[in-house]
Amino acid sequence: MSVMNAQLVAHIANLANIPVTKAEEEKLASGFVTTLKVVDQLMDVDTSGVEPTHQVTGLENVLREDEVDEERMFTQEEALSNASNKHDGYFVVPQLIGE
């Protein structure tokens, strides 16, 4: 049975960059416990010698030629069109610490 508690939830939230309050941690933890109960069924399956499937299509070597695709490139305006914070052609974020 997998370990799942508020502390682990806090760690996961940090990794996932999702803001979670202390109050929410417990609730999320119990929700995950329910889900993991279902998921843990997998542990009983004998998968020795079975290759994992990452791609159902069986495709290989799907590559493109080294050419510039003018049609798909954005103008600066298009690129910035949905940014809530922009300046002089740049996207803007508040100053990052430690840089």
Partner: protein, 458 residues
């Protein structure tokens, strides 16, 4: 009344100059104005779509509803999440581009479970959609809005997407036809990614023929999606009347504890008999228990989701991550967990191994059978509020279609039973081997013509 035409009827009548596209559009727009506040199907609308009639205009301005996870340039696209509340895409998805170039009129974007995380449309950040067949009930999901739009004749046809049941299940709950193509048959470029190795855009419509017409247009390899197949696309409508004579059909899950002895199991048996009368051999078949597919799907999908939703930080577009709804947060976090150091072998790799076993199981089944049938959903549509607090609600509801989804197989839902009292439907799921959409379309068509469940075929 023009808006209850099927796509095929629409095209025939427009070609014959019996009706005009503008009239149909006007009627539908008016109906949406009236019905949408109650049903909450459309999030964004384009009342005056300019459809480019470049090529032999195969769709002749047919009004289509598009699920809101397809990026439509200039038309707000949200995936039903507050994170993308005012997002105006600067580019077009391949599917909608193809439809526009084929002369479709895209009249609006439909409600869905936020980020496609769900099977009821209740997790939408903009409120649930109501099932037009019975307003106390849910339309299913995640393509609930598109399914409802078709069921309510608020479009001529629609487009949805399926990761594990999201086309077929709402089609089942709303009593319409929903077609999930083989993974890789239709381009995902410009579709908000959910489960990258699972997502399959597909048509939803009033009849099998309608979905085949749309599939012809949207299928095909795309240079902007490296997972699309280069296999030639057949004309899915050409031999639609071929029938099922001589086909071997496997009947699945009739003994499953969730449906045994219920109206669902009974309806499935009846469907089997219909196919026998049409000249196929039908046999009860044994497959791997679908319950385990839930675990596979849960892990694979949530892992891929946690990765695909990492780009939403509010810097280049949209709002920041505090705007994610409850279900999205849960899925992102669980997926992060199943990929994390020390756990990824236990969960992610293991799930992908069991996935291989399902694929192998289907390979074995398809040596004996040409098609497989089962119920799409273990029951009728559920009442609004049914989600409750069960984080596994969606997966349980989709259990019967998850095995084929995780294997990349194509499947189609056709209505197979109608309850007079509730006005709700059950759906039949027909699954074919990879790339054999033609065969399942032919079987679905034959079934549809031989039975009375389709609300538009009298």
């Amino acid at each position: 009344m023009l808006r209850n035409l099927t796509l095929k009827q629409y095209l025939d009548k427009v070609k014959a100059r019996e009706i005009s596209p503008d009239d149909v559009l006007a009627e539908i727009n008016e109906a949406i104005d009236q019905e949408n506040p109650k049903l909450n199907i459309y999030l964004a609308r384009n009342k005056n779509p300019k459809s480019k009639l470049q090529n032999p205009n195969s769709l002749l301005g047919a009004p289509l509803a598009i699920k809101d996870n397809f990026l439509t340039k200039g038309l707000v696209t949200t995936a039903s999440s507050k994170v993308l509340e005012n997002f105006k895409p600067p580019y077009e998805s391949t599917v909608t581009k193809k439809l526009k170039e084929a002369g479709a009129a895209i009249i609006g974007k439909t409600n869905m479970d936020a980020w496609a995380h769900g099977s009821s449309t209740e997790t939408s950040d903009f409120g649930p959609t109501k099932n037009p067949r019975n307003l106390e009930y849910l339309p299913g999901g995640s393509s609930g809005g598109s399914a409802a739009a078709v069921a309510a004749d608020l479009c001529i046809a629609a487009i949805g997407s399926e990761t594990a049941g999201s086309i077929r299940q709402p089609a089942s709950w709303c009593g319409i036809v929903g077609l999930k193509p083989t993974y890789g048959r239709v381009s995902r470029a410009g579709v908000v990614a959910m489960g990258s190795s699972l997502d399959s855009p597909g048509p939803m419509g009033k009849t099998v023929d309608d979905t085949a017409i749309l599939l012809n247009i949207i299928a095909g390899s795309d240079k902007y999606d490296g997972t699309t197949s280069k296999l030639p696309v057949p004309d899915f409508t050409k031999e639609i009347k071929k029938g099922v004579k001589g086909l071997r059909i496997g009947l699945l899950y009739s003994e499953h504890e969730k449906i045994k002895g219920t109206v669902v199991a009974n309806a499935l048996q009846q469907a089997g008999k219909v196919f026998e009368n049409l000249g196929a051999t039908v046999e009860t078949a044994k497959a791997m228990k679908p319950d385990l597919a839930i675990a596979v799907y849960t892990v694979v999908q949530r892992s891929e989701v946690s990765s695909n939703l990492a780009r939403y930080d509010g810097v280049r577009y949209g709002n920041d991550r505090s705007f994610f709804g409850e279900e999205a947060r849960r899925r992102i976090m669980l997926g992060t967990f199943t990929l994390s150091k020390g756990y990824s072998d236990k969960y992610y790799v293991k799930a992908q191994q069991v996935r291989s076993m399902y694929i192998q199981n289907y390979n074995e089944l398809f040596e004996k059978y040409d098609l497989l049938i089962s119920p799409t959903s273990p029951g009728f549509a559920q009442k609004i509020g049914a989600l409750g607090d069960n984080p596994m609600f969606g997966e349980l509801a989709d259990m019967l279609v998850e095995p084929s989804s995780i294997s990349g197989l194509p499947g189609i839902n056709v209505p197979m039973y109608h309850d007079q009292k509730t006005n709700l439907y059950l759906g039949l799921n027909i699954v074919a081997p990879m790339w054999q959409e033609e065969r399942m379309i032919q079987a679905a068509y034959a079934y549809e013509q031989a039975t009375e469940w389709n609300a538009w075929i009298k």
